[in-house]
């Protein structure tokens, strides 16, 4: 089976600025992929290209479609939430349901209504009257009621408080995700989604820094906490990043020789957020 998303040599330029610089990646069905990078790394450009919102150079296939030319057909099978608060402020909640039910062949009204019934939001309210958290709940209810193969979320919880953020991701995992669906999330708040993800793609300055499954991280990377007297010896093993913590130093290794490294201290697998910092800062070091 071909991958759900396939990008080869994907490039996006804005004048002289290169937002995406010949990026290659693929996303398989049934995965939850985090596209992670600092602000201005090219995350949003990548998503805009995937969703057919912008023209690009290179090869890109999403669900068998060329996104820019075939956005309408693509949106039958894919849906996206770009940021919080993009629902039109003048729209009423019941109008939003009517409209999406009217134009989307895969929208299930009963499902949207039952999802909304769990919230405190009345159908006659206008979007502009709702809090940010409520807007997100409405948008999520609309989106989860669409029987889509691919869901793309671009910073879906930006500006929400911790309760709303937690509720958002819980709903996503419990009420939406199953083996037929694929989710692509971008965020710069890695800690929040790292337990959710099956795969991560790190992106920085328009290039892919890492493309790996979460299980793969544990075998491919190791972090060792080293005491000061062992530091020079451990450095000889060529860590790609080191971090000082309360008098100790944590060294990060790619393709580690575990037997050797065990002599200098205890090995552990880095978390996604630690690895993210290590990879991006390591490039700079």
């Amino acid at each position: 089976m071909p991958p759900l998303i396939e990008a080869r040599d994907l490039t996006k330029k804005y004048g002289a600025h290169v937002a995406l610089d010949g990026v290659n990646f693929a996303v398989e069905a049934g995965r939850i992929v985090g596209l992670i990078g600092p602000n201005g790394a090219g995350k949003t450009s990548a998503l805009r290209a995937l969703l057919g919102l912008t023209a690009y150079q290179g090869h890109l296939q999403v669900l068998g479609h060329e996104p820019f030319g075939e956005r309408t057909a693509l949106m039958n099978d894919a849906c996206f939430i770009a940021d919080v608060a993009v629902l039109p402020p003048w729209l009423r909640v019941d109008q939003a349901i009517d409209f999406v039910a009217g134009v989307h062949p895969r929208f299930r009204r009963d499902r949207a209504l039952s999802l909304l019934a769990k919230t405190q939001i009345a159908g006659k309210r206008r979007i502009r009257e709702l809090s940010k958290g409520m807007k997100t709940q409405v948008h999520l209810a609309l989106t989860m009621a669409i029987d889509a193969k691919l869901l793309v979320l671009d910073e879906p919880t930006l500006g929400l408080d911790i309760l709303a953020r937690r509720a958002f991701y819980d709903a996503l995992v419990n009420d939406y995700m199953d083996e037929t669906r694929t989710i692509l999330i971008t965020t710069h708040q890695v800690e929040e989604i790292e337990n959710l993800l099956t795969d991560v793609i790190f992106i920085d300055k328009g290039r892919i820094v890492l493309d790996c499954s979460v299980e793969g991280i544990a075998t491919r990377y190791a972090a060792v906490t080293v005491a000061a007297d062992q530091l020079e010896a451990a450095r000889a093993q060529r860590p790609f990043y080191e971090r000082r913590l309360l008098g100790k130093v944590v060294l990060y290794f790619e393709h580690p020789d575990r037997d050797k490294l065990a002599r200098y201290g205890e090995l552990h697998a880095p978390s996604v957020s630690d690895l993210f910092v290590a990879k991006l800062s390591g490039e700079a070091q």
Binding site: L51, T72, L87, L91, V103
Partner: protein, 291 residues
């Protein structure tokens, strides 16, 4: 087809002014009929009555269409700009609706749906006004407003006006859509500046005024082409009302220049330019998301 129906409904949800403005305007005119002076003109002959009725009924409809043209212009400038400004364009583009359908629906709303709403409101208001006035005023004033063939002729006139002005003003509407789909701010200014710059540049550097003439002709040439302005033999009548000589078309049938309008190359060149500009507007809509 279903999508188009929902897109048009959506325009009514978003732009409540589409029906609120004609409703308020109609309300004001009905109030004026209720409490204003109605015994304004004494007329004696059937011809005077006919001219008086025609002028009053026409003036009511014309008021609606004048307001409509201002609103439709504003609507066209705003319709592809507002959702980029508040970023809801990202929501609309997450649905399986093509940009072509979106742009064509906005165009159809401005050129057909809004005029038809105003047309209905004008008819309703005129009916109520005629009813009120004929109760309040003397029988001659009242009866001059109830002439069935005059009503019928005015319906034909308004429908003809809607269809022909939609065709004639297509390039201007399409230009406004381009500005609306493209501008980052100042849509009003951007709609005027480029044509103005083109006009001035041509004058200064070439000393000619082809662009200016063409633009001016497109703006004001509609009436001259769509209607027979020259009183021909027997097609116009004059009568004296309150010491003023009023000349009106004797009937609608000779007044409408149907053949002239639809056979004029000006009409079809305008349509061709309009189609090209609409394609540009769609292309811009494809490429531009939020501001």
């Amino acid at each position: 087809m279903n999508t188009y129906w929902w897109l048009i409904r959506r325009e009514f949800w978003e732009n409540r002014a589409i029906w609120l403005i004609p409703a308020v305007l109609g309300g004001l005119l009905v109030l004026a009929a209720l409490f204003g002076r109605v015994e304004f003109i004494a007329h004696n002959s059937p011809l005077q009555g006919r001219v008086f009725g025609g002028v009053v009924l026409f003036a009511f409809g014309a008021t609606f269409f004048a307001v409509m043209s201002i609103y439709a212009t504003w609507y066209l400038l705003d319709c592809l700009y507002a959702d980029r400004k508040d970023r809801s364009v990202l929501f609309w583009k997450s649905l399986p609706i093509s940009d072509t359908a979106t742009v064509l629906c906005k165009l159809a709303t401005a050129l057909l749906v809004i005029p038809l709403v105003y047309f209905a409101a004008a008819d309703l208001t005129t009916l109520m006004m005629a009813f009120i006035v004929s109760i309040r005023a003397s029988s001659t004033v009242g009866s001059s407003l109830w002439q069935s063939d005059l009503w019928l002729q005015l319906q034909v006139l308004w429908l003809y006006l809607i269809i022909t002005s939609a065709i004639w003003y297509l390039p201007i509407a399409a230009w406004l859509l381009i500005v609306s789909a493209w501008a980052k701010r100042g849509v009003m200014l951007w709609s005027i500046l480029p044509p103005l710059a083109l006009f001035l540049a041509e004058r200064w550097f070439l000393g000619t005024h082809i662009v200016g003439d063409q633009l001016w002709e497109r703006l004001v040439g509609f009436g001259r082409l769509a209607f027979n302005g020259h009183p021909g033999a027997g097609s116009w009548v004059s009568t004296t009302v309150d010491n003023n000589v009023v000349t009106t078309p004797a009937g609608i049938w000779n007044f409408l220049n149907v053949e002239g309008f639809f056979s004029s190359p000006e009409t079809w060149i305008g349509v061709a330019v309009g189609v090209v500009l609409i394609v540009c507007a769609i292309q811009l809509r494809l490429r531009r998301t939020e501001i």
